[in-house]
Symmetry: C2
Subunit: 308 residues, 2 copies
């Protein structure tokens, strides 16, 4: 494992609970953040794709982030999503995160206009770095073409690293394409690369990845952390096989509603199941099926006794 990675380890894109009126539930959110850190996460990435981050308003994101810091999570362990289609919005969110002391930010490219040129994306990030104008800013590029449709080419990554070596410091690769992750790792050995799924954790660590940032860390950080911490042990492959199997079982369901259904079930707290449009929560039968399938096939369960 690389020694200089700021965020090395296992990072959850934190699920966002909602209140009865649909507004973000800061209390449950902070409680979940605390539990994730106890369960094995080394850091947290609020407002990612799994967090329904793009379904949150700017003010909502900033208020939740402040609640997390006020709730005792060290700001340097936070890598909030601050990307936006509009540079002006991305600047507001990024500046706020930096001023709160966040260790990094996870930034989508502007994703409305499709097939932008490399130069156009370059100008977006150069403009953002120029506007934020703060040496503390550490950007992790968020490459997730299956959802954002717009991604980061190897050439653009290289250009950003060369121009801003102390600011553009890493990338989350949610392409689902190991060949792409391997290519980024090979091209930029000093860059903090996080596969977007624990399926690639062991392969990643063997090739110099910094860890993983994965949706399923919301419910299985402990097991993923064990793979991370013992990756050089003889039985690492067996442990990797187990977390891969669990991940695949979970992603057979609609990911965000399924993760929330699991937490609602094991916390005995139906409020956790709520999602924002355009998502729809699972029906009772489907939620029960997620719980039963994972319990029966993988012995999966969640324990919340350790948390407040």
């Amino acid at each position: 494992m690389r020694k200089n990675a700021r965020f090395a380890g296992v990072i959850a894109p934190v699920l966002t609970p909602f209140g009865e009126d649909g507004s973000p539930d800061a209390e449950r959110f902070v409680q979940h953040c605390r539990w994730l850190m106890q369960d094995g996460c080394t850091a947290l990435a609020p407002f990612g794709t799994t967090s329904e981050g793009n379904s949150l308003g700017l003010d909502e994101r900033m208020e939740l982030l402040e609640a997390v810091v006020d709730g005792g999570i060290p700001a340097d362990k936070l890598m909030p999503g601050t990307g936006a289609c509009a540079l002006a919005d991305a600047v507001v969110l990024t500046r706020h995160a930096v001023e709160l002391g966040c260790g990094g930010v996870l930034m989508l490219p502007p994703f409305y206009y499709k097939a932008p040129s490399e130069e156009g994306l370059w100008r977006f990030f150069a403009g953002l770095i120029d506007a934020v104008a703060d040496d503390r800013l550490k950007i992790y590029l968020y490459h997730i073409p299956p959802v954002a449709q717009v991604g980061f080419s190897l050439r653009l990554i290289g250009r950003l690293i060369t121009a801003f070596p102390r600011t553009v410091v890493g990338l989350k690769d949610s392409s689902g394409d190991w060949a792409n992750t391997a290519a980024v790792l090979a091209a930029h050995p000093e860059f903090d690369v996080f596969p977007g799924s624990e399926v690639f954790l062991l392969d990643g660590l063997r090739h110099g990845a910094a860890g993983c940032i994965s949706a399923t860390c919301n419910v299985s950080a402990a097991a993923i952390r064990r793979v991370h911490d013992t990756w050089q042990a003889k039985d690492a492959d067996a442990r990797q096989a187990a977390i891969t199997a669990l991940r695949k079982a979970i992603q057979a369901f609609p990911m965000i509603p399924a993760l929330k259904a699991l937490i609602a079930h094991y916390r005995g707290d139906p409020a956790w199941a709520r999602v924002r449009p355009p998502f729809v929560e699972l029906g009772a039968a489907e939620a029960e099926k997620v719980v039963r399938t994972l319990a029966d096939t993988h012995g999966f369960r969640l324990e919340f006794a350790r948390t407040a």
Copy 2:
């Protein structure tokens, strides 16, 4: 042509000029709005795709809209884009537009998360209408799957019209697929349907469309308006052929930078060429080529003498 269409006619998604520092240039924006109304537009749709609307921050959009109303454009002739990925943001923009007296709003679906369910999109719009809670709200659905990737199915359109017949009153169809436009027109004869390109204007009017909302109205509203106003005349097809040919010539170039290059050239105002990332303005040679190609092949030129 339908008699009850609120926005019947020719509508420009207004280009947004930017200042030297990249901020929106309200003065040039209002000037352009005034000129568009003189040139033949019957109404204006600021903050559409062509407006780089999704590259504008929430505050920027609201300030520009206020400047346009203050600048003397009747608010009931404005159909600003107020869609957003986050319901909270869409509510803020939509409420602001309604309170300013805008005749309608043009709403993208939430476009970050792909392949949302019909139910999820339904909940987004039902939630928005519930939150805005204002009888003056008139929503035009913005169907542009080539860019947003997320669109409105015929079933979803029908469901929204049935539930909110006085609120969900129309649709802009930028699918580029005449069969889809024709299907919406056939299914909902009382709905205000606007093809997203003047290429479909005459066909649209013959099938009950309300007009068109098209990027190229920024530079050729007069000719498009003539087709609109004389669509039952004998020589309508020849006029349609001319505007179709011009549209195709323009869209052979990158649309937004090319439209801005044309205005910059004919106004003798290089500032007009500026775009926001992820777009990049045309180089000098390419800008010259746009001007020359259209002039040589279509006799195209712009006259701004009539405006301030």
